[in-house]
């Protein structure tokens, strides 16, 4: 399985990858993008099976990325990993076609609970 991690913070991308390992999903290929625009391009070149994306990023936000992706007809599972976890944002994420929103700070258990249906060991 190939997982695309999009976040403008290198530190946070490393934490997300580490948390995937801690959740028991160590063997997957990881590709990284620094913003939504780069991630959207990488969807075409890398064909990921799952996308984990920050919401607030330069160039293109996570929600703009998701809407563009769904606008292209893509149904790749997409989950936000972001610092804001309000009900308003969860609702926006769901309406745009995200499978979930993981608010920072997070735990491996929360990753397992949210992503368990689409990621396997």
């Amino acid at each position: 399985m190939k997982i695309l991690v999009a976040d403008d913070s290198k530190a946070m991308r490393m934490i997300v990858v580490r948390t995937l390992r801690q959740a028991g999903w160590a063997g997957h290929d990881i590709v990284e993008a620094e913003n939504g625009r780069e991630a959207l391009t990488m969807v075409g070149t890398e064909s990921p099976d799952l996308i984990l994306s920050d919401w607030n990023m330069p160039e293109m936000t996570g929600i703009e990325f998701l809407k563009a992706l769904r606008g292209q007809g893509s149904s790749i599972p997409f989950c936000f990993v972001t610092s804001e976890g309000s009900e308003e944002m969860r609702s926006l994420a769901s309406q745009a076609g995200a499978l979930g929103l993981i608010a920072k700070p997070f735990t491996a258990e929360l990753f397992m609970e949210t992503l368990g249906s689409v990621v396997s060991a």
Partner: protein
């Protein structure tokens, strides 16, 4: 009620928020900083703005800590014994981003969060002047981290998500 009034009322919530965020990010027990201050030397800080779309006001959310603490943070986040200065700024910016997102969640109405920025400065030699706004502190690994929330007239140097770097935040009025 302005955003800053809401934060003043929520001082205990802000303190609890800072303790929770630090505990989770460092993977260590964090607590109240009883009488501790940031030691002399380099101070590493991050800053972002919350734009209240109801009254067009801006609230700044800042995180401040010592250079030593920022190095520990970057080292833990990036699993490296020798983080670069860029790593250090990235780590403190992300800590500010997490804190800012959680602070924004305390507000009851529609707001917008900027991207974080970070810098290293030398602490003033003389005692610091009292600061405006709400200041809460927490301690982790024996070091102090401050969370400062205050109203801002200028938000120069900050950027909106999704924008290019030419789209600097500007007050609308």
């Amino acid at each position: 009620m302005s955003a800053i009034d809401e934060f003043e009322e929520a001082r205990e919530d802000l303190e609890a928020l800072l303790i929770e965020v630090l505990g989770a990010v460092f993977g260590e027990e964090a607590g109240i900083a009883w009488g501790q201050t940031i030691p002399a030397g380099p101070v590493v800080s991050s800053r972002l703005a919350i734009h209240d779309e109801e009254d067009d006001s801006y609230t700044l959310v800042e995180i401040r800590t010592s250079g030593i603490m920022a190095r520990i943070l970057a080292s833990r986040m990036m699993t490296t014994a020798d983080p670069s200065s860029d790593d250090l700024l990235d780590a403190i910016a992300e800590l500010g981003n997490i804190a800012g997102g959680n602070v924004k969640s305390l507000l009851r109405h529609s707001c917008r969060l900027s991207l974080p920025t970070a810098e290293v400065t030398q602490a003033a030699v003389e005692p610091e002047q009292p600061r405006d706004g709400v200041v809460v502190q927490a301690s982790v690994l024996g070091q102090v981290v401050e969370l400062i929330v205050h109203q801002a007239d200028t938000v120069s140097g900050l950027y909106w998500p999704g924008s290019t770097h030419t789209d600097v935040l500007e007050k609308q009025s």
